[in-house]
Structure formats: structure tokens, C-alpha cells
């Protein structure tokens, strides 16, 4: 039995049992963050806030949603949108947040790539982050099934058909995933289970891993400078706040986080109330009809780049290219052979690689939305090739990179 003394206050009582002061120091007031960072470093907090919005709005949708093929559409578009007080608000928040979260994820990802925050001890942050991207993608896809509109049904049909593996004709696998020959009741309820329970649990676990992976190597900074956190934190605690290269997470960094979050929320709520069409596609306001494919089917915008890598090739090659595209980002820390942990603009050819990757993914995204006809399919084809070639070239350019 550990030694306990009579508590002098509530704080002392909790401290003896839960070490709250130590936890507070490690997680907040003595979690040292470099000062040399910009607002892009706040994207993590923006993601936490957006995820919280998704959770809370999701809870209220869950109270009224019915995962039944006959009543799902009505439960969303009549009960929630018309009858439930503020039901329309939760739905709009949920739909807009589900789309905007990916914009922030991509900004967050590309920030990491630009500043080399996946290298030199930070590989697990990158890998856990990419796993979070996969989990969020699965969460978004499963959620999209739920309103059981035309897009829900046909996206479900097309994406599960991928698992037939082209020439492998693994139809049994497709039927097993669906629980039926076509997307029907079994399909809807199992994706409901995934969306409401299993994937959120995985996401929460991965967020824990992601934060832990970040805590130990410390946050990166704009110049990639290796900071002596012990020395700099001593300076800060001695009173030289301005001279120290580091600051506390709470309240120093958090106040800047909250400022970025505040400005982000202005933009976010503007979308929720006035400009939500991009997140709530009109086609999904038609109830699902298994006997009628809509004239234009497309995934949500954040999947378009990888959809476009699938499309221009014949079935088997397309599936291989698609599989490649999903996995390749995870391997970034190992494909980048250069030890330079500095921003891309100081890395010679890598800077070109970076901007080309970014622009190319935007081109792929645009082509993925456009109908598969000329000139769009031709542009999409070359874009997909450029994407694959860039990744093959990465180890080569980085091997020959000059030490920064």
C-alpha cells in the first residue's frame, strides 16, 4: 500500500490518487512547443474541433435515424430535417463537417510533407496519421451510405464491386461484404454498425496513438531546427519568455490554436447555413432505386483524386494503380532517402516534387468529378501516370539531395 497523507485540499486529494499535477504538466503547461511555427501548426486542433462537431451532431442524428432500407431516407429527410427541433442544424453540421474535415486533413498532411515532419524520429506520427486518414475515409464512406439516397446506393454498389478484384472475379467476396447480392438491408445495417461504433472507436484509439507519437519526439518547427528542449524550457521557466525558443502548450500555444479555430469556425458556420451544396450532393436527395443508375455518379470530392487513378486504366491495371495510390503515402518516410529535415523550399528538387504533387492531386480531383470523356479522360490519364512516376522517382531524387 503506497504512502498516503491526509489531504490538504481537493486538488491534493486528487493529486495523491491520480497525479493530476504531473499529468497537467506533461500534457499542458510543461509540454514545450517551438515558437518558430505558423498557423498551419493549428490544423491538428482544428481537426479535433471538427471531429467533436461530428461526434455531437452525430449523437443527435443517431437519436432519430432509422437504419432500415424502407425508412432511412424518410427518417433523415422528413423526421430529422422537418420535425426534429434543430434536426436540420445537426444534419447540416454533420454533412459539412464530414466534407471540410478532409480539406483540413489534406492541409495537415501536406504541411507535414512540406516541413519534413515525417522524418528523424517522427515516422510513427506520420504512419498513425495515415492510418487516421484511412479510418476517416472508411468512416466517411460508411456514413454516406446511411441516408440511402441514389448516390448512397450506387456508390455502395460501385465501391464494393472493386473487391471482385477485376479478372479475379471474386464475386463471393463482394457478396460476403454486402451480406447480400446487392446493397440491401444487411449492407445498410452493417455499415451503420461500422459508422456508429467500430470505426469511431478505432479513430479514438488512433488519435491516442497519434498524440503519443507526437509527444515524445516533440513538435517540429518552420526551419527544421533541432531544438534543445531542456535548455530552452529552463530559460522560459527562469523568466526569459521572449528569449526562449519554446513556449508552453497551455496557454501559449493553445491561445493561438483557439484564434485559428475561431476564424475557422466563421468559415465553417458560413458553409453550414448558406453554402452546403458541395457537402450534400443533390443526387442523394433522390431515394435509392436499385433499377436506375443516375446519369452522373461520383464520389465525394476528397476521394476524387484516387478515383481518377482507378478510372483511366483497364480494370486490372486500374485496381493495381488504385491500390498503389492508397498505400504509397504511408511509405513516405522510407521512400524519402534524404536526412534533411528542413522545409521543402530548401531541398532543391524535392520542392519541385512537392508542388507538382500538390497541383497534380488537384488536377486528379477535378478530372475525377468530370465525365469520363475527352479532354478530361486524357488529362486524367496523364495525371495518374505523373502521380505514379513521381513516387517512383522520390527515392532517386532524395538519394542525391545535397545536405542542407
Amino acid at each position: 500500500m503506497a504512502h498516503f497523507t491526509k489531504a490538504t485540499s481537493v486538488k491534493d486529494w486528487l493529486n495523491q490518487r491520480l497525479a493530476i499535477e504531473k499529468v497537467e504538466k506533461v500534457m499542458a503547461s510543461e509540454y514545450w512547443i517551438p515558437k518558430n511555427i505558423n498557423f498551419l501548426w493549428a490544423m491538428g486542433m482544428v481537426l479535433v474541433i471538427t471531429f467533436a462537431l461530428l461526434l455531437v451532431s452525430g449523437i443527435f442524428l443517431l437519436m432519430y435515424y432509422q437504419p432500415n432500407v424502407d425508412t432511412a431516407f424518410y427518417s433523415v429527410n422528413y423526421t430529422i430535417m422537418r420535425e426534429v427541433d434543430f434536426g436540420w442544424l445537426w444534419r447540416h453540421i454533420h454533412g459539412v463537417a464530414a466534407s471540410v474535415v478532409f480539406l483540413i486533413i489534406y492541409i495537415h498532411m501536406f504541411t507535414g510533407i512540406y516541413y519534413g515532419s515525417y522524418k528523424k524520429g517522427r515516422e510513427m506520427i506520420w504512419i498513425s496519421g495515415m492510418l487516421l486518414f484511412v479510418a476517416f475515409s472508411a468512416e466517411a464512406f460508411s456514413g454516406y451510405m446511411l441516408p440511402w439516397g441514389q448516390m448512397s446506393y450506387w456508390a455502395g454498389m460501385v465501391i464494393t464491386n472493386l473487391f471482385a478484384g477485376g479478372s479475379l472475379h471474386a464475386d463471393f467476396l463482394v457478396e460476403w461484404i454486402r451480406g447480400d447480392y446487392v446493397p440491401a438491408q444487411a449492407f445498410l445495417t452493417r455499415f451503420f454498425m461500422l459508422h456508429v461504433l467500430l470505426i469511431p472507436l478505432a479513430i479514438l484509439g488512433l488519435i491516442g496513438l497519434h498524440f503519443a507519437a507526437l509527444r515524445i519526439p516533440h513538435v517540429n518547427n518552420q526551419d527544421g531546427e533541432e531544438i534543445d528542449f531542456d535548455a530552452e524550457s529552463k530559460k522560459y521557466l527562469a523568466g526569459d519568455k521572449a528569449g526562449s525558443k519554446v513556449m508552453r502548450f497551455a496557454n501559449d500555444f493553445m491561445s493561438k490554436d483557439m484564434m485559428v479555430v475561431g476564424i475557422y469556425l466563421i468559415f465553417f458556420f458560413y458553409l453550414v447555413f448558406w453554402n452546403y451544396g458541395f457537402a450534400m450532393d443533390p443526387v442523394n436527395f433522390d431515394p435509392a432505386d436499385g433499377l436506375k443508375t443516375p446519369a452522373h455518379i461520383y464520389p465525394e470530392w476528397y476521394f476524387l483524386w484516387s478515383y481518377e487513378i482507378l478510372r483511366p486504366f483497364s480494370v486490372d491495371i486500374g485496381l493495381i494503380a488504385f491500390g498503389f495510390a492508397q498505400v504509397i503515402f504511408v511509405l513516405l518516410p522510407f521512400l524519402d532517402r534524404s536526412p534533411n529535415t528542413v522545409p521543402a523550399n530548401r531541398r532543391g528538387l524535392f520542392a519541385i516534387w512537392f508542388w507538382l504533387m500538390l497541383v497534380n492531386m488537384i488536377v486528379l480531383t477535378a478530372m475525377g468529378k468530370l465525365p469520363p470523356e475527352d479532354p478530361y479522360s486524357t488529362v486524367g490519364f496523364y495525371s495518374a501516370i505523373i502521380f505514379i512516376v513521381q513516387w517512383i522517382l522520390l527515392p532517386i531524387i532524395t538519394t542525391f539531395e545535397k545536405k542542407a
Partner: protein
């Protein structure tokens, strides 16, 4: 969290603004829990009182609960005591016993015996008469009467008309 207290003001101010937002969200959340308009609208049942036969119990439905409607015979009406008269509901010249068909003991639905002109609750043996009063324990009080309003030869359950309000105020029903 170390905040120099004279500069901690802005942090506290921001916290207060955030708290206002949180309270607003909680208000919206509370309202999302409220019963839906369609549920509240279904809270009114209109009964056409001209269709019932004397001494024939009919069970209607109101807010998910069974409602006993019993048209009284002339003999029943003639024999009404003062206590029974205050429970009497008169619509378009006919006398009725209208009540919530749940035993006031623990909520089972009693059965009506037309020959004996009385109710027996199978759960614990409670008995009520044709006017809804208790004739055998354990029920603590007569059948509860739902809010009602007389509208010509119709009875609207869920709306409190003057007769019902009177009954409630004088303690005839809870």
C-alpha cells in the same frame, strides 16, 4: 496552468464567451430531445359518442393508453349516488363513464363484466363499478379521467374542457 492573474482577464473573458456558446448548444440539444410535433398532434383523439351501445364496454386509444367508454343504462343513471354523479359525463343527452382503462393500483387493464356491471382487475383482484369507483381494494382511487372536451356529440380527448377542469379542481380525478 500559470496565468499571471492581472493578465488572465482576457483568458477568462474568452472562456466566458465560449461558455455562452456551450449553453446555446445545450439549449438546442434539449430541444432536439423534445417530443416531435407529430407525436404531440397525435395526442388528441376524437370520439363519436353516437356509436356506443348501453352497457357495452368499448376500449379506445389515447396517447398510447386504453380508454374505457361505457354508455350507462337508464337504470344506472337513475341509481347514481352523489359521488357517481360528479364522474358522470353527459354528451348529447346520453350518460357515459369515460376513463383511462388502467387500474390505479399498478397499471394493469381491468376486464369488464356486463352481467355484473363491474370491472375486475386480474393482477391483484381490484374491483371497480360501472361509474369507475373502487368497490374492492387494492386500487387506491377510482379510474383516472383523461382531459376531455365535449363538442356536440363528439368527445375530444387531450383537450381540457370546462367539465374536465371542474372535475380536476374538485379532486374527482388526478
Amino acid at each position: 496552468m500559470e496565468n499571471n492573474s492581472r493578465r488572465g482577464f482576457m483568458g477568462k473573458a474568452f472562456g466566458a464567451v465560449a461558455a455562452v456558446g456551450a449553453v446555446g448548444s445545450l439549449v438546442a440539444m434539449k430541444k432536439s430531445w423534445d417530443p416531435l410535433p407529430s407525436v404531440k398532434a397525435a395526442g388528441f383523439t376524437t370520439l363519436d359518442m353516437s356509436i356506443y351501445n348501453e352497457n357495452e364496454l368499448v376500449v379506445e386509444k389515447w396517447r398510447g393508453k386504453p380508454i374505457f367508454v361505457l354508455k350507462k343504462t337508464a337504470k344506472m343513471v337513475a341509481s347514481q349516488t352523489e359521488e357517481q354523479k360528479v364522474r358522470d359525463i353527459v354528451v348529447d343527452g346520453s350518460h357515459f363513464m369515460v376513463c383511462i382503462g388502467l387500474c390505479t393500483h399498478l397499471g394493469c387493464i381491468p376486464a369488464y363484466n356486463a352481467d355484473e356491471e363491474g370491472f375486475l382487475c386480474a393482477c391483484h383482484g381490484g374491483k371497480f363499478d360501472w361509474a369507475g369507483e373502487v368497490t374492492a381494494v387494492p386500487p387506491p382511487r377510482g379510474f383516472d379521467i383523461p382531459p376531455f372536451k365535449i363538442d356536440g356529440n363528439k368527445l375530444v380527448l387531450g383537450e381540457a374542457g370546462p367539465e374536465y377542469t371542474q372535475m380536476k379542481e374538485t379532486g374527482v380525478t388526478l
